[in-house]
Symmetry: C2
């Protein structure tokens, strides 16, 4: 008898029971189907990249997990060239640069994979999490139509997931960028000011004002002007805001930002995006300097604490570290693990059955096993997930097994049924029973179960 190793949960590595996993997979499937509905093609990159690839953009090395063999072969080093990817953007950049001559551009790809981050685990932080990304990559240039599609994909996805009202907030980084340029600030101060604004929702206007003064070096007048501009914008409905922006004086960057934003809004409407599902919000700038134009964040109205559940934006150059070819693109990323696990905790998403089985064929009379197995085969042939109760047990225990797993129907056949050529079907949700002729069973169950 070996020593028993008592299994303990691993902090930051979420693990679900079957009923929760089924909910998670349903959400994953909605994401996948929606991405495909919009013509995004699946790719999957290895869980690892070469270390030099992952650190090219200057990722936090303390949060990257590298691989080393648990034991080295004699005379060899246990270390490897590989580390686990921490997002799907760096792998995408590497993939596109590596395979670009075999891809057709604009390249529309989706990627749904786990990523790993060596963070200190704390509430809501995961070390292993699913990301669901779409990007459209152009070769040399890319139309703003691509920017307009992104909010629509988010809209379709979250509507189908049935997780309550949400708003996709859209802006264009050039608007505030241009505004700040007119203060004659050097680029690093502009970047600092944008980072400060990015925190607005989290820390409030007073704290942002302090950062604008101290970190970005704005004057008090400039900081107040900027914050007033953002606050006023926030109060205006879309068309009034766009009109207001058009009327503002501004440099070329500002005007380009306003024009792009307006085009994206027009295209979004033409694509069928409802007015209630989006909002132009100039405070959205995304922390990363990587983004250059359109930017998005998405919030669940009833769950503001979750922060943005789907973010992204337009970038001028996807893969500058891996190729000299200019590859502009636009993309979004859904942090699915955090979204689904938090909504499960909050009771917005509710675990149902612990199995995909829809019919349990009970085995009342061991002599009739062959017939029970044939019934199961018939139901499966119609595409109905079916289980046969495997063990010898009283019918009450068999039905209890079905109830505990959340199986909807139980097929019961004993002496009476076999002599009549019938079967009994018990609806365990409603406690009702029906009797069918054996040969019509599969058809009746199809009517009840398949859409």
């Amino acid at each position: 008898m070996p020593n028993i190793i008592v299994p303990r949960p691993m902090s930051g590595f979420p693990e679900l029971l079957p009923a929760e996993q089924i909910v998670f997979n349903r959400c994953l499937e909605i994401v996948r189907r929606t991405f495909e509905l919009f013509g995004f093609a699946p790719i999957e990159t290895p869980a690892v990249e070469r270390k030099e690839v992952l650190t090219s953009k200057g990722g936090n090395e303390k949060e990257i997990y590298a691989l080393a063999r648990l034991a080295a072969a004699p005379g060899e080093d246990a270390s490897t060239d590989y580390a686990l990817h921490f997002d799907l953007t760096v792998p995408l950049a590497r993939y596109v640069a590596q395979h670009k001559d075999k891809l057709v551009f604009p390249f529309r790809r989706y990627q749904i994979q786990k990523v790993w981050r060596g963070e200190r685990p704390q509430a809501g932080r995961y070390r292993e999490l699913y990301q669901c990304d779409i990007d459209v990559i152009g070769r040399g240039s890319l139309s703003l139509l691509a920017d307009a599609e992104m909010p629509l994909v988010i809209y379709h996805t979250f509507t189908q997931m049935n997780i309550g009202p949400f708003v996709v907030r859209v802006s264009n980084r050039r608007v505030l960028q241009g505004w700040l340029e007119s203060f004659d600030l050097p680029p690093e101060r502009i970047s600092a000011a944008l980072h400060a604004v990015d925190d607005l929702e989290k820390v409030g206007a007073e704290a942002v004002r302090a950062s604008l003064l101290q970190k970005a070096g704005l004057s008090e007048t400039q900081a107040d002007q900027l914050l007033r501009f953002i606050a006023e914008s926030d109060r205006l409905p879309t068309d009034a805001l766009l009109q207001h922006l058009r009327a503002c004086e501004g440099n070329a960057t500002f005007r380009q930002g306003v024009e792009e934003l307006e085009t994206v809004v027009q295209h979004m409407r033409a694509l069928g995006m409802p007015e209630t599902a989006f909002k132009v919000d100039l405070s959205i700038v995304r922390g990363l300097d990587y983004y250059t134009g359109t930017v998005y964040e998405t919030r669940l109205i009833d769950h503001p604490n979750l922060g943005s559940v789907c973010s992204g934006g337009r970038y001028d150059d996807l893969a500058g570290y891996f190729t000299t070819e200019k590859l502009p693109g636009v993309g979004i990323s859904i942090g699915l693990s955090r979204l689904v696990l938090r909504l499960l905790e909050a009771g917005v998403l509710k675990p149902g059955a612990a199995t995909p089985t829809q019919v349990l064929v009970t085995t009342l009379d061991p002599q009739q096993l062959r017939e029970y197995l044939a019934i199961a085969a018939d139901l499966r042939a119609q595409g109905i997930p079916t289980e046969v109760y495997l063990e010898r047990a009283r019918i009450g225990d068999q039905l209890r097994y079905a109830s505990r797993k959340g199986i909807r129907y139980a097929v019961i056949a004993g002496e009476t049924e076999f002599s009549d050529g019938t079967v009994k079907v018990k609806d365990l949700a409603r406690g009702e029973e029906e009797v069918f002729f054996r040969e019509e069973l599969a058809e009746r169950m199809v009517e009840r179960l398949l859409p």
Copy 2:
């Protein structure tokens, strides 16, 4: 401008182009659907386990990838407690032991995940690969019905994948075990003899005979007897073989093995397993001593070099390292990466389109963009994966884009069509064109595209 890091393929970490990825995902989806049809519930465990969990069964430490942070925080160690799992059986054992009070037994689970092995890459060996596992776990005991279901799940899966003829070979380890016990060998020699027989297909009878003599310590007469027994069995059809086995003298283990094998074959037939899809083959013993009863291997008849593409068996005790509770089970595992990638190489599985898009809405007249976007929205509302051509380009270039991606239909509308209230649909596979009224387009495309 940063230094360019030229991306290179990572040996042993397969990566596919979109058209191949679509084939892979289709196979994955067939596996998932079939597992669910038989009532297996999804679970997913983290990619990592604690090192002590992974090494509990004595895995090869040189082939296990451990995680260490790429850089340590000051005063901290970069190493972690975690390593990547190398199969899905150890994680299942840990999962069941950890959560057993929340699971309903018999517990039927499937798990489709990547596993990682620090192997030296060579032809057909992967360091990252997908495994697709099902297991049924009992609490204390488990009926042989569970053993009979496994080949049927394999049969349904591979039939739908359309990868040519295959045979699930079934045996029961107790048959040869009992035969060897009658030679009065100690347990470690019996184990050595079973390992020798496991190599029969790979190395041939002469080499196995040598191993039986040298490693297992059988006499020449015993080795010849055993090999003759296996060879004779191989020539007999199922029922004749079972009859032959019933007539053999043997100890209690042998008789139990024969009886179980016979029961499993009867149940398989009752479940609808075709005679051509399975074969009783006493040379199947599986290398692992972990298996105690029924064992399976699956070969593609036209691709013998692939070896077994789906193997598994019955075990007395799943989680002896993690709990004192006895949890017998039976399971199989499909090595999906090797199967699909090799069949892609062999041309058995053929890459088709490089996108899920079925209709490309071309954008002939930029003034009519709003209408093109509305057409796309209509088609998507019917569930048809649709793309709008994003860039300004001549219609020839737009159609070429569709052809290169393997998109089947292109919607074309210019001056004539807009004034007539029609649209033209070009079938790019057949080179045919049809004209529809704008308002009937979606319906017509549904007829053509959705089953």
